[in-house]
Protein backbone atom coordinates (compact mmCIF):
# COMPACT_ATOMS: atom_id res chain seq x y z
CA UNK A 1 0.00 0.00 0.00
CA UNK A 2 1.18 3.49 -0.75
CA UNK A 3 1.29 4.82 2.80
CA UNK A 4 3.48 2.05 4.27
CA UNK A 5 0.60 -0.11 5.54
CA UNK A 6 0.28 -3.86 5.01
CA UNK A 7 -2.32 -4.70 2.40
CA UNK A 8 -4.77 -6.36 4.75
CA UNK A 9 -7.79 -8.36 3.57
CA UNK A 10 -9.39 -8.49 7.01
CA UNK A 11 -13.03 -7.42 6.96
CA UNK A 12 -13.57 -6.24 10.53
CA UNK A 13 -12.51 -2.57 10.63
CA UNK A 14 -10.89 -2.64 14.08
CA UNK A 15 -8.94 -5.80 13.30
CA UNK A 16 -7.99 -4.43 9.89
CA UNK A 17 -6.53 -1.27 11.47
CA UNK A 18 -4.33 -3.46 13.67
CA UNK A 19 -3.51 -5.87 10.88
CA UNK A 20 -2.40 -3.09 8.54
CA UNK A 21 0.17 -2.03 11.09
CA UNK A 22 1.15 -5.45 12.49
CA UNK A 23 -0.24 -8.30 10.37
CA UNK A 24 -0.99 -10.67 13.24
CA UNK A 25 -4.47 -11.52 11.98
CA UNK A 26 -3.17 -12.27 8.50
CA UNK A 27 -0.40 -14.33 10.04
CA UNK A 28 -2.78 -16.42 12.17
CA UNK A 29 -5.05 -16.97 9.19
CA UNK A 30 -2.10 -18.09 7.07
CA UNK A 31 -0.21 -20.21 9.61
CA UNK A 32 -3.12 -21.78 11.49
CA UNK A 33 -6.10 -21.20 9.21
CA UNK A 34 -5.51 -22.14 5.61
CA UNK A 35 -2.06 -23.68 6.13
CA UNK A 36 -1.90 -26.75 3.88
CA UNK A 37 -1.43 -29.78 6.09
CA UNK A 38 -1.06 -33.37 4.86
CA UNK A 39 -4.46 -34.99 4.92
CA UNK A 40 -3.20 -38.33 6.27
CA UNK A 41 -2.05 -37.30 9.78
CA UNK A 42 -2.61 -39.86 12.49
CA UNK A 43 -2.97 -39.06 16.19
CA UNK A 44 0.81 -39.11 16.66
CA UNK A 45 0.73 -35.68 15.05
CA UNK A 46 -1.32 -34.26 17.93
CA UNK A 47 1.59 -34.30 20.34
CA UNK A 48 3.30 -31.11 19.24
CA UNK A 49 0.15 -29.15 20.03
CA UNK A 50 -0.20 -31.02 23.33
CA UNK A 51 3.37 -30.07 24.20
CA UNK A 52 2.59 -26.42 23.57
CA UNK A 53 -0.46 -26.61 25.81
CA UNK A 54 1.54 -28.33 28.53
CA UNK A 55 4.13 -25.57 28.37
CA UNK A 56 1.42 -22.96 28.88
CA UNK A 57 -0.03 -24.88 31.82
CA UNK A 58 3.40 -25.20 33.40
CA UNK A 59 4.13 -21.49 33.03
CA UNK A 60 0.73 -20.46 34.45
CA UNK A 61 0.88 -22.86 37.41
CA UNK A 62 4.55 -22.03 37.98
CA UNK A 63 3.96 -18.28 38.12
CA UNK A 64 1.21 -18.72 40.72
CA UNK A 65 3.32 -21.13 42.77
CA UNK A 66 6.14 -18.58 42.74
CA UNK A 67 3.79 -16.09 44.41
CA UNK A 68 3.84 -18.26 47.53
CA UNK A 69 7.18 -20.07 47.38
CA UNK A 70 10.26 -18.97 49.35
CA UNK A 71 13.63 -19.98 47.83
CA UNK A 72 15.56 -20.17 51.11
CA UNK A 73 16.76 -23.44 52.62
CA UNK A 74 15.13 -22.62 55.95
CA UNK A 75 11.73 -21.91 54.43
CA UNK A 76 11.43 -23.66 51.07
CA UNK A 77 9.97 -26.95 52.28
CA UNK A 78 7.54 -25.21 54.64
CA UNK A 79 6.46 -22.74 51.96
CA UNK A 80 5.50 -25.65 49.71
CA UNK A 81 3.54 -27.25 52.54
CA UNK A 82 1.83 -23.89 53.13
CA UNK A 83 0.83 -23.85 49.48
CA UNK A 84 -0.62 -27.33 49.87
CA UNK A 85 -2.53 -26.55 53.08
CA UNK A 86 -3.28 -22.84 53.37
CA UNK A 87 -3.28 -21.21 49.94
CA UNK A 88 -6.71 -21.38 48.27
CA UNK A 89 -6.48 -24.14 45.63
CA UNK A 90 -2.75 -24.26 46.31
CA UNK A 91 -2.88 -28.07 46.40
CA UNK A 92 -4.42 -28.06 42.91
CA UNK A 93 -1.89 -25.66 41.42
CA UNK A 94 1.00 -27.58 42.99
CA UNK A 95 -0.21 -31.00 41.87
CA UNK A 96 -0.95 -29.61 38.39
CA UNK A 97 2.62 -28.29 38.17
CA UNK A 98 4.17 -31.48 39.55
CA UNK A 99 2.20 -33.85 37.33
CA UNK A 100 2.32 -31.41 34.44
CA UNK A 101 6.07 -31.96 34.36
CA UNK A 102 5.52 -35.70 33.97
CA UNK A 103 2.85 -35.09 31.33
CA UNK A 104 5.29 -32.82 29.50
CA UNK A 105 7.84 -35.62 29.27
CA UNK A 106 5.24 -38.24 28.30
CA UNK A 107 4.06 -35.98 25.49
CA UNK A 108 7.58 -35.14 24.35
CA UNK A 109 8.74 -38.77 24.34
CA UNK A 110 5.78 -39.71 22.14
CA UNK A 111 6.48 -36.65 19.96
CA UNK A 112 10.11 -37.77 19.57
CA UNK A 113 8.99 -41.35 18.89
CA UNK A 114 6.87 -40.04 16.04
CA UNK A 115 9.88 -38.16 14.66
CA UNK A 116 12.09 -41.23 14.83
CA UNK A 117 9.53 -43.63 13.34
CA UNK A 118 8.40 -41.46 10.45
CA UNK A 119 11.80 -39.96 9.60
CA UNK A 120 10.73 -36.41 10.42
CA UNK A 121 14.38 -35.59 11.18
CA UNK A 122 15.44 -36.16 7.57
CA UNK A 123 16.06 -33.50 4.96
CA UNK A 124 14.77 -30.81 4.69
CA UNK A 125 13.75 -30.92 8.38
CA UNK A 126 17.21 -31.34 9.94
CA UNK A 127 17.21 -27.91 11.60
CA UNK A 128 13.66 -28.39 12.81
CA UNK A 129 14.83 -31.63 14.48
CA UNK A 130 17.87 -30.00 16.06
CA UNK A 131 15.76 -27.17 17.46
CA UNK A 132 13.57 -29.86 18.95
CA UNK A 133 16.54 -31.57 20.62
CA UNK A 134 17.50 -28.15 22.01
CA UNK A 135 14.05 -27.78 23.50
CA UNK A 136 14.42 -31.25 25.02
CA UNK A 137 17.70 -30.27 26.67
CA UNK A 138 16.19 -27.06 28.03
CA UNK A 139 13.26 -29.05 29.37
CA UNK A 140 15.55 -31.43 31.19
CA UNK A 141 17.54 -28.59 32.76
CA UNK A 142 14.33 -26.85 33.80
CA UNK A 143 12.83 -30.01 35.29
CA UNK A 144 16.01 -30.86 37.16
CA UNK A 145 16.20 -27.44 38.79
CA UNK A 146 12.49 -27.39 39.51
CA UNK A 147 12.72 -30.67 41.39
CA UNK A 148 15.34 -29.17 43.72
CA UNK A 149 13.06 -26.32 44.81
CA UNK A 150 10.81 -28.15 47.33
CA UNK A 151 14.04 -28.97 49.20
CA UNK A 152 13.09 -32.51 50.12
CA UNK A 153 15.57 -35.35 50.55
CA UNK A 154 15.47 -36.29 46.87
CA UNK A 155 15.69 -32.62 45.87
CA UNK A 156 18.88 -32.16 47.86
CA UNK A 157 20.55 -35.47 47.09
CA UNK A 158 19.57 -35.47 43.42
CA UNK A 159 21.09 -32.00 43.13
CA UNK A 160 24.23 -33.19 44.93
CA UNK A 161 24.68 -36.22 42.68
CA UNK A 162 24.05 -34.42 39.40
CA UNK A 163 26.13 -31.31 40.18
CA UNK A 164 28.95 -33.59 41.36
CA UNK A 165 29.05 -35.05 37.85
CA UNK A 166 30.84 -31.96 36.69
CA UNK A 167 33.79 -32.84 38.91
CA UNK A 168 34.58 -35.47 36.29
CA UNK A 169 35.82 -32.73 33.96
CA UNK A 170 39.59 -33.12 33.78
CA UNK A 171 41.73 -30.51 35.58
CA UNK A 172 39.04 -27.95 36.35
CA UNK A 173 36.23 -30.25 37.45
CA UNK A 174 36.16 -29.57 41.22
CA UNK A 175 36.41 -25.81 40.68
CA UNK A 176 33.54 -25.90 38.24
CA UNK A 177 31.45 -27.67 40.84
CA UNK A 178 32.29 -25.09 43.53
CA UNK A 179 31.31 -22.40 41.07
CA UNK A 180 28.02 -24.14 40.27
CA UNK A 181 27.22 -24.58 43.94
CA UNK A 182 28.22 -21.08 44.95
CA UNK A 183 29.73 -22.76 47.98
CA UNK A 184 31.22 -26.02 49.19
CA UNK A 185 28.09 -28.12 48.94
CA UNK A 186 24.55 -27.81 47.63
CA UNK A 187 23.18 -25.13 49.93
CA UNK A 188 21.26 -21.83 49.96
CA UNK A 189 23.17 -20.13 47.12
CA UNK A 190 22.49 -23.17 44.94
CA UNK A 191 18.80 -23.19 45.77
CA UNK A 192 18.42 -19.48 45.10
CA UNK A 193 20.12 -19.57 41.70
CA UNK A 194 18.19 -22.69 40.71
CA UNK A 195 14.94 -20.83 41.48
CA UNK A 196 15.96 -17.91 39.30
CA UNK A 197 17.05 -20.14 36.42
CA UNK A 198 14.01 -22.38 36.75
CA UNK A 199 11.80 -19.29 36.31
CA UNK A 200 13.90 -18.13 33.33
CA UNK A 201 14.31 -21.27 31.27
CA UNK A 202 10.66 -21.89 30.33
CA UNK A 203 10.73 -18.55 28.54
CA UNK A 204 13.86 -19.62 26.68
CA UNK A 205 11.88 -22.72 25.76
CA UNK A 206 9.08 -20.50 24.44
CA UNK A 207 11.60 -18.75 22.21
CA UNK A 208 13.03 -21.97 20.80
CA UNK A 209 9.51 -23.38 20.32
CA UNK A 210 8.71 -20.32 18.24
CA UNK A 211 11.76 -21.06 16.05
CA UNK A 212 10.79 -24.74 15.94
CA UNK A 213 7.29 -23.94 14.64
CA UNK A 214 8.63 -21.32 12.24
CA UNK A 215 11.04 -23.86 10.77
CA UNK A 216 8.20 -26.32 10.47
CA UNK A 217 6.10 -23.86 8.55
CA UNK A 218 8.86 -23.42 6.00
CA UNK A 219 9.26 -27.10 5.18
CA UNK A 220 5.68 -28.12 5.98
CA UNK A 221 4.80 -31.11 8.12
CA UNK A 222 5.93 -34.65 7.46
CA UNK A 223 3.22 -37.32 7.32
CA UNK A 224 2.86 -41.06 8.05
CA UNK A 225 3.78 -42.01 4.47
CA UNK A 226 6.92 -39.89 4.51
CA UNK A 227 6.29 -38.61 1.00
CA UNK A 228 5.93 -34.90 0.24
CA UNK A 229 2.50 -33.52 -0.70
CA UNK A 230 2.38 -33.01 -4.46
CA UNK A 231 -0.46 -30.53 -4.58
CA UNK A 232 -3.69 -29.36 -2.96
CA UNK A 233 -5.29 -32.78 -3.36
CA UNK A 234 -2.78 -34.11 -0.80
CA UNK A 235 -3.48 -31.50 1.86
CA UNK A 236 -6.24 -30.00 3.99
CA UNK A 237 -6.48 -26.54 5.51
CA UNK A 238 -5.31 -26.71 9.12
CA UNK A 239 -8.58 -25.15 10.24
CA UNK A 240 -11.08 -26.77 10.70
CA UNK A 241 -9.69 -30.26 10.13
CA UNK A 242 -6.74 -30.27 12.45
CA UNK A 243 -8.10 -27.73 14.92
CA UNK A 244 -10.93 -30.18 15.52
CA UNK A 245 -8.67 -33.22 15.63
CA UNK A 246 -6.36 -31.42 18.06
CA UNK A 247 -9.39 -30.57 20.19
CA UNK A 248 -10.22 -34.26 20.48
CA UNK A 249 -6.63 -34.97 21.45
CA UNK A 250 -6.71 -32.19 24.03
CA UNK A 251 -9.79 -33.65 25.68
CA UNK A 252 -8.13 -37.06 25.99
CA UNK A 253 -4.97 -35.39 27.26
CA UNK A 254 -6.89 -33.52 29.95
CA UNK A 255 -8.64 -36.73 30.97
CA UNK A 256 -5.28 -38.41 31.56
CA UNK A 257 -3.90 -35.31 33.27
CA UNK A 258 -6.96 -35.05 35.51
CA UNK A 259 -6.77 -38.73 36.44
CA UNK A 260 -3.21 -38.18 37.63
CA UNK A 261 -3.81 -34.87 39.42
CA UNK A 262 -7.02 -35.85 41.19
CA UNK A 263 -6.63 -39.60 41.77
CA UNK A 264 -2.91 -40.36 41.89
CA UNK A 265 -1.05 -37.09 42.39
CA UNK A 266 1.98 -38.68 44.06
CA UNK A 267 2.14 -41.89 42.05
CA UNK A 268 4.97 -40.74 39.78
CA UNK A 269 6.87 -39.06 42.62
CA UNK A 270 9.15 -40.35 45.34
CA UNK A 271 7.89 -40.45 48.95
CA UNK A 272 11.34 -39.45 50.22
CA UNK A 273 10.81 -35.98 48.84
CA UNK A 274 8.27 -35.36 51.58
CA UNK A 275 11.14 -35.57 54.07
CA UNK A 276 12.90 -32.21 54.53
CA UNK A 277 16.42 -32.17 53.11
CA UNK A 278 19.08 -33.45 55.51
CA UNK A 279 22.72 -33.03 54.39
CA UNK A 280 23.85 -35.60 56.94
CA UNK A 281 21.59 -38.47 55.86
CA UNK A 282 21.71 -39.93 52.36
CA UNK A 283 18.59 -41.85 51.32
CA UNK A 284 19.09 -45.56 50.64
CA UNK A 285 18.25 -45.28 46.95
CA UNK A 286 18.72 -41.93 45.25
CA UNK A 287 16.54 -41.97 42.16
CA UNK A 288 15.75 -39.13 39.79
CA UNK A 289 12.24 -38.61 38.49
CA UNK A 290 11.04 -41.31 36.05
CA UNK A 291 11.70 -39.27 32.91
CA UNK A 292 15.45 -39.11 33.67
CA UNK A 293 15.79 -42.81 34.47
CA UNK A 294 17.02 -44.01 31.06
CA UNK A 295 19.86 -41.48 31.06
CA UNK A 296 20.61 -42.22 34.71
CA UNK A 297 20.93 -45.88 33.77
CA UNK A 298 23.43 -45.03 31.03
CA UNK A 299 25.40 -42.89 33.50
CA UNK A 300 25.68 -45.73 36.00
CA UNK A 301 26.35 -48.41 33.39
CA UNK A 302 29.90 -47.16 32.80
CA UNK A 303 32.34 -48.05 35.59
CA UNK A 304 34.45 -44.95 34.90
CA UNK A 305 33.17 -41.65 36.33
CA UNK A 306 34.11 -39.46 33.34
CA UNK A 307 33.05 -42.20 30.95
CA UNK A 308 29.62 -42.34 32.49
CA UNK A 309 29.20 -38.58 32.23
CA UNK A 310 30.39 -38.52 28.62
CA UNK A 311 28.12 -41.36 27.59
CA UNK A 312 25.10 -39.89 29.36
CA UNK A 313 25.66 -36.57 27.60
CA UNK A 314 26.43 -38.39 24.38
CA UNK A 315 23.15 -40.28 24.52
CA UNK A 316 21.30 -37.01 23.92
CA UNK A 317 23.88 -35.20 21.82
CA UNK A 318 23.83 -38.07 19.34
CA UNK A 319 20.26 -37.04 18.50
CA UNK A 320 21.62 -33.83 17.01
CA UNK A 321 23.50 -35.69 14.28
CA UNK A 322 20.80 -38.28 13.62
CA UNK A 323 19.83 -36.75 10.25
CA UNK A 324 23.32 -37.58 9.00
CA UNK A 325 23.63 -41.00 10.67
CA UNK A 326 20.54 -42.38 8.99
CA UNK A 327 21.49 -43.00 5.36
CA UNK A 328 18.13 -44.25 4.12
CA UNK A 329 16.44 -42.29 1.37
CA UNK A 330 13.09 -43.48 2.69
CA UNK A 331 11.59 -41.49 5.55
CA UNK A 332 8.82 -43.56 7.10
CA UNK A 333 9.48 -46.86 8.90
CA UNK A 334 6.27 -48.09 7.27
CA UNK A 335 8.33 -48.80 4.19
CA UNK A 336 11.47 -50.05 5.98
CA UNK A 337 10.30 -53.39 7.39
CA UNK A 338 13.59 -54.67 8.78
CA UNK A 339 14.77 -51.38 10.26
CA UNK A 340 11.33 -50.94 11.75
CA UNK A 341 11.73 -54.09 13.83
CA UNK A 342 15.09 -52.87 15.09
CA UNK A 343 13.61 -49.46 15.88
CA UNK A 344 10.78 -51.02 17.85
CA UNK A 345 13.36 -53.08 19.71
CA UNK A 346 15.22 -49.84 20.43
CA UNK A 347 11.99 -48.39 21.85
CA UNK A 348 11.54 -51.42 24.11
CA UNK A 349 15.18 -51.03 25.07
CA UNK A 350 14.46 -47.41 26.08
CA UNK A 351 11.90 -48.73 28.56
CA UNK A 352 14.36 -51.35 29.77
CA UNK A 353 16.82 -48.55 30.47
CA UNK A 354 14.07 -46.66 32.28
CA UNK A 355 13.26 -49.69 34.42
CA UNK A 356 16.85 -50.54 35.25
CA UNK A 357 17.62 -46.89 36.10
CA UNK A 358 15.45 -47.22 39.18
CA UNK A 359 17.12 -50.41 40.35
CA UNK A 360 20.04 -50.45 42.81
CA UNK A 361 23.48 -50.54 41.25
CA UNK A 362 23.94 -54.29 41.76
CA UNK A 363 23.96 -57.38 39.57
CA UNK A 364 22.14 -58.43 37.49
CA UNK A 365 20.97 -54.86 36.91
CA UNK A 366 24.45 -53.58 36.12
CA UNK A 367 24.92 -56.08 33.30
CA UNK A 368 21.43 -55.39 31.94
CA UNK A 369 22.11 -51.64 31.94
CA UNK A 370 25.39 -52.18 30.09
CA UNK A 371 23.83 -54.32 27.38
CA UNK A 372 20.94 -51.87 27.03
CA UNK A 373 23.33 -48.93 26.79
CA UNK A 374 25.30 -50.66 24.07
CA UNK A 375 22.15 -51.36 22.08
CA UNK A 376 21.01 -47.74 22.54
CA UNK A 377 24.17 -46.46 20.87
CA UNK A 378 24.49 -49.31 18.39
CA UNK A 379 21.13 -48.37 16.88
CA UNK A 380 22.37 -44.88 16.02
CA UNK A 381 25.99 -45.69 15.21
CA UNK A 382 25.66 -49.03 13.45
CA UNK A 383 22.08 -49.94 12.53
CA UNK A 384 20.91 -46.70 10.96
CA UNK A 385 24.04 -45.99 8.87
CA UNK A 386 24.10 -49.58 7.67
CA UNK A 387 20.43 -50.27 7.02
CA UNK A 388 20.10 -47.25 4.76
CA UNK A 389 22.51 -48.91 2.41
CA UNK A 390 21.66 -52.59 2.63
CA UNK A 391 17.88 -52.67 3.19
CA UNK A 392 15.53 -52.81 0.24
CA UNK A 393 12.58 -50.56 1.17
CA UNK A 394 8.99 -51.32 0.22
CA UNK A 395 7.68 -49.38 -2.78
CA UNK A 396 6.42 -45.95 -1.86
CA UNK A 397 2.89 -44.90 -2.85
CA UNK A 398 2.55 -42.49 -5.74
CA UNK A 399 0.99 -39.73 -3.72
CA UNK A 400 -0.75 -39.08 -0.41
CA UNK A 401 -4.17 -38.67 -1.96
CA UNK A 402 -3.71 -41.88 -3.94
CA UNK A 403 -2.86 -43.74 -0.75
CA UNK A 404 -5.64 -42.14 1.33
CA UNK A 405 -8.52 -41.88 -1.11
CA UNK A 406 -7.75 -44.77 -3.41
CA UNK A 407 -7.06 -44.67 -7.14
CA UNK A 408 -10.50 -43.64 -8.38
CA UNK A 409 -11.25 -40.86 -5.91
CA UNK A 410 -7.80 -39.32 -6.02
CA UNK A 411 -8.31 -38.76 -9.72
CA UNK A 412 -11.38 -36.67 -8.95
CA UNK A 413 -14.08 -39.28 -9.74
CA UNK A 414 -15.80 -41.78 -7.45
CA UNK A 415 -18.55 -41.31 -4.90
CA UNK A 416 -16.68 -38.95 -2.59
CA UNK A 417 -18.19 -35.44 -2.96
CA UNK A 418 -16.10 -32.50 -4.04
CA UNK A 419 -15.93 -31.07 -0.53
CA UNK A 420 -13.59 -33.88 0.45
CA UNK A 421 -10.79 -32.30 -1.50
CA UNK A 422 -9.02 -29.42 0.08
CA UNK A 423 -9.69 -25.83 -0.72
CA UNK A 424 -7.14 -24.87 -3.32
CA UNK A 425 -4.27 -22.85 -1.97
CA UNK A 426 -4.55 -19.25 -3.06
CA UNK A 427 -0.84 -18.70 -2.87
CA UNK A 428 1.92 -21.06 -3.92
Amino acid sequence: MANGLHDSQVSNPVLRWIDQRLPVVTMIQKEYGVFPTPRNFNYFWNFGALAMITLMIMIASGIFLAMNYTPHTSMAFDSVERIMRDVNYGWLIRYAHMNGASMFFIVIYIHIFRGLYYGSYKAPRELLWMLGVTIFLLMMATAFMGYVLPWGQMSFWGATVITNLFSAIPLIGPEVVTWLWGGFSVDNPTLNRFFSLHYLMPFMIVGVVFLHVAALHITGSNNPLGIEPKGPQDTLPFHPYYTIKDSVGIVVYFAVFAALVFFAPNYLGHPDNYIPANPLVTPAHIVPEWYFLPFYAILRAVPDKLGGVVLMGGSIMILFVLPWLDTSKVRSMRFRPFTRVLFLLWTVNFFVLMWVGAKPAEQPYVLISQISTMFYFAYFLVVLPLMGRIERPLPLPESISRAVLGMKASLGGGPIPGTATAKPMEKA
Binding site: A60, F64, M67, N68, R82, R85, D86, V87, N88, Y89, G90, L92, I93, H239, P240, T419
Partner: protein, 187 residues
Protein backbone atom coordinates in the same frame (compact mmCIF):
# COMPACT_ATOMS: atom_id res chain seq x y z
CA UNK B 1 -14.55 -23.15 5.42
CA UNK B 2 -16.80 -25.77 3.82
CA UNK B 3 -20.26 -24.74 2.84
CA UNK B 4 -22.92 -24.58 5.48
CA UNK B 5 -25.18 -27.61 5.05
CA UNK B 6 -28.83 -26.57 5.12
CA UNK B 7 -31.09 -28.75 7.22
CA UNK B 8 -32.42 -31.74 5.30
CA UNK B 9 -36.11 -32.18 4.80
CA UNK B 10 -36.00 -35.44 6.78
CA UNK B 11 -34.58 -33.89 9.93
CA UNK B 12 -38.09 -33.34 11.30
CA UNK B 13 -39.09 -30.33 13.36
CA UNK B 14 -39.72 -26.92 11.89
CA UNK B 15 -36.03 -25.92 11.51
CA UNK B 16 -35.93 -22.67 9.61
CA UNK B 17 -33.35 -22.74 6.80
CA UNK B 18 -31.12 -20.24 8.58
CA UNK B 19 -30.84 -22.09 11.93
CA UNK B 20 -28.89 -25.28 11.47
CA UNK B 21 -27.56 -28.16 13.52
CA UNK B 22 -24.17 -26.62 13.04
CA UNK B 23 -25.31 -23.41 14.73
CA UNK B 24 -26.53 -25.46 17.69
CA UNK B 25 -23.26 -27.33 17.94
CA UNK B 26 -21.20 -24.15 17.66
CA UNK B 27 -23.27 -22.44 20.34
CA UNK B 28 -23.07 -25.32 22.79
CA UNK B 29 -19.34 -25.70 22.16
CA UNK B 30 -18.79 -22.01 22.78
CA UNK B 31 -20.87 -22.19 25.97
CA UNK B 32 -18.96 -25.19 27.29
CA UNK B 33 -15.65 -23.57 26.37
CA UNK B 34 -16.64 -20.48 28.33
CA UNK B 35 -17.56 -22.62 31.34
CA UNK B 36 -14.30 -24.54 30.96
CA UNK B 37 -12.20 -21.40 30.79
CA UNK B 38 -13.96 -20.11 33.89
CA UNK B 39 -13.41 -23.36 35.72
CA UNK B 40 -9.70 -23.30 34.90
CA UNK B 41 -9.27 -19.61 35.70
CA UNK B 42 -11.15 -19.72 39.03
CA UNK B 43 -8.56 -21.63 41.14
CA UNK B 44 -5.80 -19.28 39.96
CA UNK B 45 -7.79 -16.18 40.83
CA UNK B 46 -8.97 -17.64 44.14
CA UNK B 47 -5.40 -18.54 45.08
CA UNK B 48 -4.65 -14.82 45.32
CA UNK B 49 -7.34 -14.29 48.00
CA UNK B 50 -6.21 -14.44 51.65
CA UNK B 51 -5.03 -17.96 52.43
CA UNK B 52 -6.08 -19.97 55.46
CA UNK B 53 -3.11 -19.00 57.58
CA UNK B 54 -3.74 -15.32 56.89
CA UNK B 55 -7.41 -15.75 57.77
CA UNK B 56 -6.42 -17.55 60.98
CA UNK B 57 -4.57 -14.45 62.06
CA UNK B 58 -7.71 -12.40 61.48
CA UNK B 59 -8.62 -12.40 65.19
CA UNK B 60 -6.45 -10.86 67.88
CA UNK B 61 -6.99 -11.23 71.63
CA UNK B 62 -6.08 -8.23 73.78
CA UNK B 63 -5.55 -8.39 77.56
CA UNK B 64 -6.98 -5.10 78.83
CA UNK B 65 -6.36 -5.60 82.58
CA UNK B 66 -3.02 -3.75 82.62
CA UNK B 67 -4.46 -0.67 80.87
CA UNK B 68 -5.01 2.02 83.53
CA UNK B 69 -7.66 4.73 83.29
CA UNK B 70 -6.46 7.42 80.91
CA UNK B 71 -4.02 5.02 79.25
CA UNK B 72 -4.08 3.72 75.69
CA UNK B 73 -2.39 0.83 73.90
CA UNK B 74 -1.89 0.05 70.23
CA UNK B 75 -2.22 -3.57 69.03
CA UNK B 76 -1.73 -5.10 65.58
CA UNK B 77 -4.79 -6.62 63.96
CA UNK B 78 -4.80 -7.83 60.36
CA UNK B 79 -1.65 -5.86 59.76
CA UNK B 80 -3.20 -2.61 61.00
CA UNK B 81 -2.82 -0.68 64.27
CA UNK B 82 -5.85 -0.68 66.62
CA UNK B 83 -6.14 1.92 69.38
CA UNK B 84 -7.56 0.61 72.68
CA UNK B 85 -8.16 3.55 75.07
CA UNK B 86 -9.32 3.28 78.69
CA UNK B 87 -11.23 6.56 78.82
CA UNK B 88 -11.49 8.88 81.86
CA UNK B 89 -14.93 9.99 83.06
CA UNK B 90 -14.25 13.46 81.68
CA UNK B 91 -13.49 12.07 78.23
CA UNK B 92 -16.68 10.05 78.27
CA UNK B 93 -18.76 13.08 79.20
CA UNK B 94 -17.11 15.14 76.47
CA UNK B 95 -17.86 12.47 73.94
CA UNK B 96 -21.49 12.15 74.97
CA UNK B 97 -22.38 15.80 75.24
CA UNK B 98 -21.24 16.79 71.74
CA UNK B 99 -24.13 18.03 69.61
CA UNK B 100 -24.49 15.80 66.55
CA UNK B 101 -24.86 18.85 64.29
CA UNK B 102 -21.24 19.72 64.87
CA UNK B 103 -20.04 16.39 63.48
CA UNK B 104 -18.90 15.89 59.90
CA UNK B 105 -19.79 12.20 60.20
CA UNK B 106 -22.58 12.20 62.80
CA UNK B 107 -22.60 9.26 65.19
CA UNK B 108 -23.42 9.04 68.90
CA UNK B 109 -20.72 7.90 71.28
CA UNK B 110 -23.10 5.20 72.52
CA UNK B 111 -23.18 3.69 69.03
CA UNK B 112 -19.40 3.50 68.86
CA UNK B 113 -18.62 1.74 72.17
CA UNK B 114 -19.88 -1.41 73.89
CA UNK B 115 -18.73 -0.37 77.37
CA UNK B 116 -18.29 3.36 77.96
CA UNK B 117 -14.75 3.28 79.41
CA UNK B 118 -13.38 1.28 76.47
CA UNK B 119 -12.91 2.83 73.04
CA UNK B 120 -11.61 0.44 70.34
CA UNK B 121 -10.89 1.95 66.91
CA UNK B 122 -8.67 1.19 63.93
CA UNK B 123 -5.81 3.67 64.11
CA UNK B 124 -5.75 4.62 60.44
CA UNK B 125 -6.76 8.12 59.39
CA UNK B 126 -9.73 7.92 57.03
CA UNK B 127 -8.17 10.60 54.84
CA UNK B 128 -5.15 8.97 53.24
CA UNK B 129 -4.10 6.30 55.70
CA UNK B 130 -1.51 7.70 58.12
CA UNK B 131 -1.49 6.59 61.77
CA UNK B 132 -2.80 9.50 63.93
CA UNK B 133 -0.92 10.62 67.04
CA UNK B 134 -2.46 10.60 70.50
CA UNK B 135 -1.73 7.23 72.04
CA UNK B 136 1.24 8.40 74.05
CA UNK B 137 0.87 11.02 76.81
CA UNK B 138 3.49 13.14 75.05
CA UNK B 139 1.69 13.04 71.68
CA UNK B 140 -0.27 16.02 70.41
CA UNK B 141 -3.97 15.18 70.69
CA UNK B 142 -5.46 17.88 68.54
CA UNK B 143 -8.04 20.50 69.37
CA UNK B 144 -10.54 17.97 70.71
CA UNK B 145 -8.16 16.07 72.97
CA UNK B 146 -8.50 12.81 71.05
CA UNK B 147 -6.09 12.18 68.21
CA UNK B 148 -4.30 14.36 65.69
CA UNK B 149 -3.12 13.20 62.30
CA UNK B 150 0.09 15.01 61.40
CA UNK B 151 -0.04 14.24 57.68
CA UNK B 152 -2.81 16.67 56.71
CA UNK B 153 -4.14 17.93 60.02
CA UNK B 154 -7.22 15.87 60.85
CA UNK B 155 -8.51 16.20 64.42
CA UNK B 156 -10.42 13.37 66.16
CA UNK B 157 -12.33 13.66 69.47
CA UNK B 158 -12.74 11.41 72.52
CA UNK B 159 -14.92 9.08 70.53
CA UNK B 160 -12.43 9.09 67.63
CA UNK B 161 -14.90 11.05 65.50
CA UNK B 162 -13.58 13.46 62.86
CA UNK B 163 -14.09 17.04 63.97
CA UNK B 164 -11.74 19.16 61.85
CA UNK B 165 -9.55 18.50 58.85
CA UNK B 166 -9.76 16.68 55.54
CA UNK B 167 -10.72 13.19 56.76
CA UNK B 168 -14.27 12.37 55.64
CA UNK B 169 -15.35 9.80 58.24
CA UNK B 170 -14.76 8.78 61.84
CA UNK B 171 -12.07 6.27 62.76
CA UNK B 172 -13.44 2.82 62.02
CA UNK B 173 -14.76 0.74 64.91
CA UNK B 174 -13.82 -2.89 64.19
CA UNK B 175 -15.88 -5.88 65.19
CA UNK B 176 -14.90 -6.87 68.74
CA UNK B 177 -16.28 -8.69 71.77
CA UNK B 178 -15.53 -8.77 75.50
CA UNK B 179 -14.50 -12.38 75.96
CA UNK B 180 -14.09 -11.64 79.69
CA UNK B 181 -13.91 -8.39 81.63
CA UNK B 182 -10.15 -8.50 81.17
CA UNK B 183 -9.96 -9.54 77.54
CA UNK B 184 -11.22 -8.27 74.19
CA UNK B 185 -11.22 -10.29 70.96
CA UNK B 186 -10.91 -8.07 67.89
CA UNK B 187 -12.15 -9.49 64.61
Amino acid sequence: MADRVASHGTSGGAAAPDVTKRDFLMLTTAAFTAVGVGAVAWPFIASLAPSRDVLALSSTDVDISPIAVGQAVTVMWRGKPVFVRHRTAEEIVNARTTPLGELKDPATDESRVQRAPWLVVVGICTHLGCVPLGQKPTDPKGDYNGWFCPCHGSHYDNSARIRKGPAPTNLVVPEYTFVTDQSIRIG
